[in-house]
Symmetry: C2
Subunit: 314 residues, 2 copies
């Protein structure tokens, strides 16, 4: 790292652990090294490898880490892992401190359990954050091909987003939405975590937005139940579009008898008047885009090519 020039100009990036325990320290070191190679000046938070049961330290430890990172206001605050843990902290987080970091230029980044942080930050302060990779999951693995142990698209998109240069993400969607144009606040994340905020003070009341969701290991009937909850709660009809990411890892059952993700989406479309697009490359999958949560975006579809675009954030 010392041999690289212009180190002072590199964006600072802090790896911290607000959720699940980091089981293998080498994974975290590998992530730090790879992120350095990708051009970031990496700091690992003091309690990033703390352990308490299934958490990265007890609640006080993780809460202190979150506030410490906020006060330091690095260019990028990147969670090491998802898992579970933020729900326990939501009532105790000093949102003003996280908002102050955003105002000083910090981008909060992650997915999965990070959905709770990002949507609650939006609910309490209106500040935006970034739904994107996790430190260990996307940069610390030994498997895969690319610099993150995975493909190249994920780090490329992440780097562009973190530099402020990324202004659009394109994806291939199903036929039937040609000509669709919508503008609204982009929000969403992991569907289970998002639904776990419903009815609480941490729920962002977004109207006229563009909602994106993904999940892992959830059978389509469980995904459907959550989406129908959002529908019955009036959330879906208040959006301009719903964009589905990846829903993988679930097991088929002999009871399904032709009930699939596809039939689930068809049912949702039959009861919900909002356009429901599929194909956004994000979720618990190797290839994931980095998206701004809480920013106004344009969704434009031409034939089967969809584009989510936003204004330069400089």
């Amino acid at each position: 790292m010392m041999t690289e020039p212009a180190s002072a100009a590199r964006p600072t990036l802090t790896l911290y652990s607000p959720s699940g325990v980091v089981m293998r320290a080498p994974d975290l070191r590998r992530a730090a090294t790879r992120l350095e190679r990708l051009g970031f000046a990496v700091t690992v938070d003091a309690s990033a490898t703390a352990k308490f049961q299934r958490f990265a330290g007890d609640d006080d430890t993780r809460l202190a880490a979150l506030h410490r990172v906020a006060d330091a206001a690095p260019s990028i605050a990147l969670a090491t892992r998802g898992g579970y843990g933020l729900t326990r902290l939501l009532d105790r987080i000093e949102w003003d401190r996280l908002a102050a970091a955003v105002d000083r230029g910090t981008r909060w980044v992650g997915y999965s359990d990070q959905t709770a942080l990002q949507l609650a930050l939006l609910a309490h302060t209106g500040r935006s954050s970034w739904h994107g990779p996790l430190g260990i999951e996307d940069f610390g693995r030994t498997d895969g091909d690319g610099p993150g142990g995975l493909d190249d698209l994920t780090p490329d998109c992440f780097i562009e987003a973190m530099s402020g240069e990324l202004e659009a993400v394109g994806f291939r969607t199903e036929a039937g939405f040609d000509g669709l144009e919508a503008e609204g606040v982009l929000w969403g994340g992991n569907l289970t975590v998002l639904c776990s905020l419903l009815g609480t003070p941490h729920w962002p009341r977004i109207e006229g937005g563009i909602l994106f969701v993904e999940d892992i290991n959830e059978h389509p009937y469980r995904v459907e139940r959550m989406l129908l909850q959002l529908h019955q709660a009036g959330v879906l009809a208040a959006q301009k579009a719903v964009v589905l990411g990846d829903f993988g890892g679930w097991r088929k059952s002999p009871l399904d008898r032709g009930y699939t993700l596809r039939t689930m989406v068809a049912h949702l479309r039959s009861v919900c008047p909002v356009p429901v697009l599929t194909g956004l490359p994000f979720g618990h999958v190797p290839t994931k885009v980095t998206l701004p949560v809480g920013r106004v975006v344009d969704l434009v579809v031409q034939r089967r090519d969809a584009l989510l675009a936003w204004a330069d954030d400089h």
Copy 2:
């Protein structure tokens, strides 16, 4: 059946299918036969074995069955199965018809997916129902010892509850609640299904109640996330007590590191001021009590013996 005397005086019981598909018709016939032997005049609804994907018929078919059973107003409307399906019907059910059946003496019974029906019925009409066994699950299996292919407590408690003679259910709870006395509306059921109603018009806004919940195949961290959602939504603090049933079927993870159901409950108690009792024998387990949902009950604890008692419903 024809040989039994006093058939006309027997309570009528209709087996119907509002949720998951009945895969094996013999299971349903076995349930009907056993319920006849237990003293009920059993009718099997016309579409109880209908099939559409993973559902017991398409939405129109299941909705029609529900309304047909309501209009017939048998003494007992017993769902054949849980699974998933009621969520799709909630916005379309004519609640007045179900309430009219209750007023004519019908007891709606079941658990699991039935939680959606029971709580929505309470939300829309204030009518009570019974959280108890399911037709096939509890009376149609070939395994087990008792008349339902299971133990004797489940049918015994069910029969008493259906006759109006059951006025209390006792269970052994943990130490620490000696002397607790609370009166309030009993409500609850399957935790996942209950949470799926939050924020929708189908959510019963019960204050000062006694909330009972159970779940299956949900890791304690997922149970915790749901309970914390209810806590953060102000639901738990508005109750006089929370009573936990069975939470089984989940798999331990190497990530748990001592995080268990027990530590989860301890955490919940540390953040929530309401008494959280364990030990209620209900859930996705062979031995389950039958409980009135939406009725005022007394919860009394002496040492470790807890009693849920209610007034005669005649």
